[in-house]
């Protein structure tokens, strides 16, 4: 006998993500979900972004790793508030993990939330976390062919940050080709080129975030805090 199921396997996660999105809207918090392969520079980008913001937005960081709290320690050493999630082998964050992490934060005191996903360009792509925008990082040392090879990550992203551009002279990374490939998959993608360590390109990126933080803060509590 055939039994019809029609169950979406991502539905359970999507439901929790929708709840988190509503909560973050109510509190007027702009949330970014950062995706990249390991070592593309997510932690460094967040550190340097917040240094540049000089407290312009009250920020918390949720950081996902398979193991260790080294990233949390890095953030705390830099005077930043961070909550570590260890996925214990899991290759991506889920909305339920983020929900638990949010419970330990004072949301009334926040404007901005960075969710640093597990370093992986495949699995995190399908799991919404309640964010306003997914940001994909691609470092110049990884190769410019990644958008074509890992399309899912780029498909639903709102922004692409090409990192480590100070290393361009020592790589064969073709900036234009990487951007072109990413835009061919997603013509709405906003692209940035930065060197977190040297500061190049960081101003545009920081301004882009702060504009969205401001917009979300204004809409907070009205129940329609759409940031993008």
């Amino acid at each position: 006998m055939d039994i019809r199921l029609a169950e979406d396997l991502l539905e359970a996660n999507n439901r929790v993500a929708a709840k988190l999105k509503a909560l973050l809207s109510e509190k007027g918090i702009f949330a970014l979900n950062l995706l990249s392969s390991p070592g593309a520079g997510k932690t460094t980008l967040i550190e340097k972004t917040l240094q540049r913001m000089k407290g312009a937005a009250k920020t918390a960081i949720i950081v996902g790793d398979v193991q260790t709290s080294r990233d949390k320690q890095r953030f705390e050493d830099a005077g930043l508030d961070a909550v570590q999630i260890n996925t214990e082998g899991g290759c991506h964050l889920t909305a339920t993990m983020v929900e638990r992490a949010l419970a330990s934060l004072d949301l009334d005191a926040l404007d901005l939330l960075f969710i640093e996903n597990v370093g992986n360009l495949v699995c995190p792509a399908g799991f919404q976390l309640g964010e306003d925008v997914k940001v994909v990082l691609l470092s110049t040392t990884e190769g410019d062919d990644k958008p074509g090879k890992y399309p899912a990550a780029f498909l639903h992203a709102g922004a692409l940050v090409i990192t480590k551009i100070d290393l361009l002279p020592w790589t064969n990374f073709d900036l234009e080709s990487a951007k072109k490939d990413a835009l061919r998959l997603n013509s709405k993608l906003k692209t940035f080129e930065v060197s977190s360590l040297k500061g190049e390109g960081m101003e545009d990126w920081v301004d882009w975030i702060l504009q969205r933080v401001e917009r979300k803060r204004r809409n907070g509590g009205l129940g329609h805090g759409r940031a993008l």
Partner: protein, 113 residues
Amino acid sequence: MHELSIAKSILDLVLRRARDDGFRRIHSVHLKIGRLSGIEPESLRFCFGVLSADTLAQSAVLEVEILALRGKCRACGGEFDLPEIDFVCPGCHNSDIEVISGTEMVMDKMEVE
């Protein structure tokens, strides 16, 4: 890469349904998986086989139907299969494309007795 947790979700759902409705055995489970879902069918079958041992689903076959990546042009409304990377409408050459299928993970039906 997260096939084990997906296999666990599938098994939990079909076993609950089978228990609720009093079925004795699950013969097959039919899934629809988008080409860009990041799920590898062979790995999913392997995980499901390991997890389903000694359950009502122990001899169940996991049938996986791969759904093509399809897009819809936001300008002319045309729908078409998307190639690997160049997301452009074949009708009006606009590049503002909405992906309408190819990332899903749906449990469609199961065969039971």
